[in-house]
């Protein structure tokens, strides 16, 4: 059952990712992205991380995507016009090689060690909100705070580039 769910969610995620990239309408792309996010939540749940899975649905598939859709619709994201062009054959390897490389990497690892290489026994309470909170406010407290600074920088940047020009206050 777990194996089936894994492949189901994995296939859904790949499909969602592909459709997000190839769609011509930004709105449809965004909806496919929700699909991919929900599938990713399924994978997280299978990985014994129920809390992350819930957050994935609430924050990404919920809040952030609503914001995305809202912004796209507000800006009236254009449907890409123009002639349909095929990708140059010379670029195919560039697209194909990275995923293949990951497949080979994981494949050789499994061939060498069996799937046991990826399944270490989990400590009790792994993935629970308590566990996540302990890591977030304990070992990773500094990283947590740094992320807030990085986001603040991004906000300042968005404002600085997007806002109306300010008058010099002393003139």
């Amino acid at each position: 059952m777990e194996t089936f769910l894994f492949w189901f969610c994995g296939a859904a995620m790949v499909l969602g990712g592909l459709m997000t990239v190839v769609q011509r309408s930004a709105v449809v792309s965004a909806v496919w992205l929700i699909f991919a996010f929900v599938a990713a939540a399924g994978i997280f749940a299978l990985l014994h991380a129920p809390f992350v899975a819930i957050l994935q649905v609430l924050v990404y598939a919920g809040a952030i995507m609503v914001l995305f859709l809202f912004v796209i619709m507000m800006l009236q994201g254009p449907v890409l016009e123009g002639e349909r062009r095929r990708m140059k054959p010379a670029l195919w390897p560039a697209v194909a090689i990275p995923p293949l490389a990951v497949l080979v990497l994981v494949g050789t690892r499994i061939a060498d060690h069996g799937t046991a290489a990826f399944t270490t026994p989990l400590p009790a309470g792994f993935g629970s909100p308590t566990h996540v909170a302990e890591l977030l406010l304990g070992r990773y407290l500094l990283a947590f705070e740094l992320i807030s600074i990085a986001l603040l920088v991004a906000i300042i940047g968005a404002l600085a580039i997007g806002k109306e020009e300010r008058k010099l206050p002393w003139k």
Partner: protein, 504 residues
């Protein structure tokens, strides 16, 4: 419930203090700009200077000891102290050069100051990082702020182009870096450097994961330090960004990139020297040669300095190559390995400081002139007759350029001397020869600017007025370039003592 470990004891606070000063200072500057109504011209700039000075004072006053702190996130001690001083110094210079910018480009840019402080915070975290998470977050904080600094002059197409290019390519390189970190995590089962080192020492885990992961990470760092073949963004971004930002990027971002490159190279050296050594050798030679060759044909001084900064990244890479060379990895000759490794790493640090000084001096002058001279102000031919009309600025630029070319008695010569000496000590004579040939080539394009300044003249004075504060600061940097070129010993010894903190 398991035990709840709060990592913030008294020592942790003292480790954090300089970071808190810079980060809190950034917030303070931002809030002051937003809420203080009586703000006058340049006040934010003075406040920013105070924050940088406070961070230096805190560094001098508080000694939190050595070793990994804060749950292994940051490495406290001389290494991070060294880089914190360097970044604060570069920040002070940049703030001085940028003072009054909203008069010059006619636009009020208050976001510059908090962003500068946050960039420096990111760099400090990056240089002190002892955990892959800290590496990534420091790098991203630094990069995000730099994208905006580079592209922040609104209404200026070239600046916007620079910001956008940097953002897109930088995002791309960060993705590579993150993927590499994920693979390395998959290999070691931990993000902490010490834990990774332990796993590497025992040789457990799948080698292919760590090989591929470190290759991807090398791409990410190579992008930040403008290593060929990841250098494509450099000329456009350095040219499009305002000169005071370019000077900052060429010195501080590069120093931060090399700090983490050194850390990661030393971390992975026992297992991966065989892979990194040949690859980095090729990249170092390419970086030096391409940077110098393309700089030969540039007519825009910012583009010229951009290509020259690529060339200097190549010299610095020689130091990293030396660290990874077989002579250092040879267990049979431990004592020799240690001296070679130490001299290479301390040469890189000395080079970073010397390079920062001379490059900031050059960009200080270029900044003043490029803000005063109109559209084609960065054209080298516009510098004709500068020695007659602006003798101090011309002399400063001349000293900086001679030092960049590696001509004695300036610091650029000593920096190259220490570096090439370390390369030779490791038995890599061909590499040292290539490096020397490259610096000979570079003399041509640096001297060209000096020839234009001192031996050509024009009728019209193309520059109206010069900001004497910026010129005086650049002049002081040039004096320091000369001083460190004549008396480098004490400083070199200090750089060597910084290195001893790192494991070899």
């Amino acid at each position: 419930m398991t035990h709840f470990e709060m990592p913030l004891d008294a020592t942790s606070w003292s480790v954090l203090l300089p970071y808190l000063v810079i980060g809190g200072g950034g917030l303070l500057v931002m809030l002051v700009d937003a809420f203080v109504r009586t703000l006058k011209k340049d006040h934010l700039s003075y406040l920013t200077l105070c924050v940088f000075l406070a961070s230096i004072v805190v560094q001098i006053a508080v000694h939190p000891g050595e070793g990994p702190r804060l749950g292994g996130m940051l490495l406290a001690g001389d290494w991070s102290r060294f880089f914190n001083y360097l970044f604060a110094g570069i920040g002070i210079m940049t703030t001085i050069f940028a003072t009054g910018i909203y008069d010059r480009d006619g636009r009020y840019r208050p976001e510059f100051y908090p962003l500068l402080l946050f960039t420096v915070l990111g760099m400090m975290v990056l240089a002190a990082a002892n955990d892959l998470l800290a590496v990534f977050l420091g790098l991203e904080t630094m990069s995000l702020a730099t994208y905006i600094l580079a592209g922040g002059v609104r209404g200026n197409v070239r600046s916007s182009e620079a910001g956008f290019k940097y953002l897109v390519l930088g995002g791309f390189s960060s993705a590579f870096l993150l993927m590499g970190m994920a693979l390395l995590y998959g290999y070691a089962g931990d993000t902490n450097f010490d834990a990774i080192a332990r796993v590497l020492a025992t040789g457990g885990g799948a080698t292919i994961l760590v090989t591929a992961g470190s290759a991807l990470m090398l791409m990410g760092f190579g992008f930040k330090v403008a290593m060929v073949p990841f250098h494509m963004w450099t000329p456009d971004v350095y040219d499009g960004a305002p000169a005071y930002v370019t000077g900052f990027m060429a010195t501080a971002v590069k120093a931060a990139g090399f700090a983490i490159l050194l850390r990661v190279a030393l971390l992975l050296q026992p297992q991966l020297a065989w892979a990194w050594y040949p690859v980095l050798t090729v990249f170092a030679v390419l970086t030096m040669s391409l940077g110098n060759l393309v700089a030969l044909v540039q007519n825009n001084i910012k583009r010229m300095l951009a290509w020259s900064s690529i060339a200097h990244a190549g010299y610095l890479l020689l130091g990293v190559v030396t660290l990874l060379s077989p002579a250092v990895g040879d267990p049979a000759r431990q004592a020799l390995a240690r001296t070679v490794g130490e001299s290479a790493a301390s040469a890189v640090l000395f080079y970073l400081v010397g390079y920062s000084l001379m490059n900031l001096a050059a960009f200080g002058v270029v900044n003043v002139l490029s803000n005063r001279g109109g559209e084609d102000a960065d054209d080298i031919n516009r510098y004709a007759g500068l020695s007659r009309r602006r003798p101090v600025a011309a002399a400063t630029l001349a000293v900086a350029l001679l030092s960049l070319a590696g001509i004695p008695p300036f610091v650029g010569f000593m920096a190259k001397f220490y570096l090439f000496a370390a390369v030779v000590k490791a038995g890599l004579v061909p590499l040292a020869v290539i490096g020397v040939i490259n610096s000979l080539v570079s003399v041509y394009y640096y001297l060209r600017v000096i020839v234009v300044m001192y031996m050509k003249d024009t009728e019209a004075d193309s520059y109206d007025g010069v900001e004497w504060v910026s010129v005086a600061t650049a002049g002081a940097l040039a004096a320091l370039v000369l001083y460190l070129g004549i008396r480098p010993d004490a400083f070199h010894a200090a750089a060597a003592s910084v290195i001893r903190q790192l494991p070899f």
